[in-house]
């Protein structure tokens, strides 16, 4: 019983959230542009969260807590919209 409280406490302390749908599309969009342009963009911050053995976030820094995830999610929504305004040759993955 005592341990179940501990697990509950640890779970409550984990404020990480899942990658948002907008940022999943943002990543797909940039990936597709990269393939067309033959480059590789560092988008590690927008990827689904991944931690190392010590619990340090090594990918998906956007999803470590609700405040920053909100910033990233809104950024991806606005970023996809901005891309649509700026470029008329976007891959299908970028279409909204």
């Amino acid at each position: 019983m005592r341990y179940s409280f501990l697990v509950l406490f640890l779970f409550a302390c984990d404020k990480s959230v899942e990658q948002s749908a907008a940022c999943e599309q943002w990543v797909s969009c940039i990936d597709a542009r990269d393939q067309l342009n033959g480059v590789s963009t560092n988008m590690v911050r927008f990827l689904p969260i991944k931690t190392d053995a010590d619990g340090e976030i090594i990918e998906g820094q956007c999803w470590g807590n609700p405040e920053i995830s909100d910033l990233c999610d809104k950024g991806c929504i606005a970023g996809l919209e901005k891309m649509g305004e700026l470029y008329d040759d976007l891959p299908q993955e970028c279409q909204q």
């Binding site: 940039i30 807590n65 405040e67 901005k82």
Partner: protein, 185 residues
């Protein structure tokens, strides 16, 4: 001593950019780390340049914020560098500097009728934000961010970018304490 008490107080809080005061030209040595560049448009005609030397193509969020009470203060920013769209004649006229040959530009005009009010939990200030905007900078190159006030409004601003935190260097906090009025409450 006060400094260490404050650090102890601030450290556990969730999300924090590295603070740095703006200069006419502000060089950022580690642009992959999240920063907040704070400044004051005193006359309204200033234009600041933030230099971001990226070693690889990146995608990251950016936004510009002002104190909540400055409702009509809407500084803007433009990202300038390779692989971005060529400026139109109207954009070239709007910008504070000429875009170098071979570079392009993306402009955040901070013109949403309703701006989000944002409570910044680390320094506990209430702000209005242009809104977070994820940008794709598609070259391993140096990009610049230009910040200015097209309506010549005056007041403080903070330009934030990135999400990766790194406070391993103890001197990271120095600009915060040396410019407390700009970043603190």
């Amino acid at each position: 001593m006060m400094r260490w008490i404050l650090l102890l107080f601030l450290s556990p809080l969730a999300f924090a950019h590295r603070p740095q005061p703006v200069e006419e030209v502000t060089e950022i040595s580690a642009p992959e780390i999240s920063h907040v560049i704070g400044g004051d448009l005193v006359s309204g005609v200033e234009a600041f340049r933030i230099v971001l030397p990226f070693k690889e193509p990146v995608a990251l969020p950016m936004e510009i914020l002002v104190p909540w009470k400055l409702e009509s203060h809407r500084p803007v920013f433009a990202v300038v560098g390779p692989g971005l769209p060529t400026p139109t004649a109207e954009q070239a006229e709007f910008l504070p500097f000429a875009v170098p040959e071979g570079n392009g530009v993306i402009i955040e005009r901070n013109d949403h009728e309703e701006r989000e009010v944002y409570f910044e939990q680390v320094m506990r200030r209430t702000m209005r934000t242009s809104g977070s905007l994820a940008l794709h900078l598609p070259a391993a190159s140096t990009y610049e961010v230009w910040i200015w006030s097209p309506e010549f409004t005056v007041g403080e601003f903070w330009f934030g970018f990135g999400v990766e935190e790194d406070f391993s260097d103890p001197e990271v906090w120095d600009p915060l304490f040396e410019n407390w009025d700009l970043f603190g409450w």
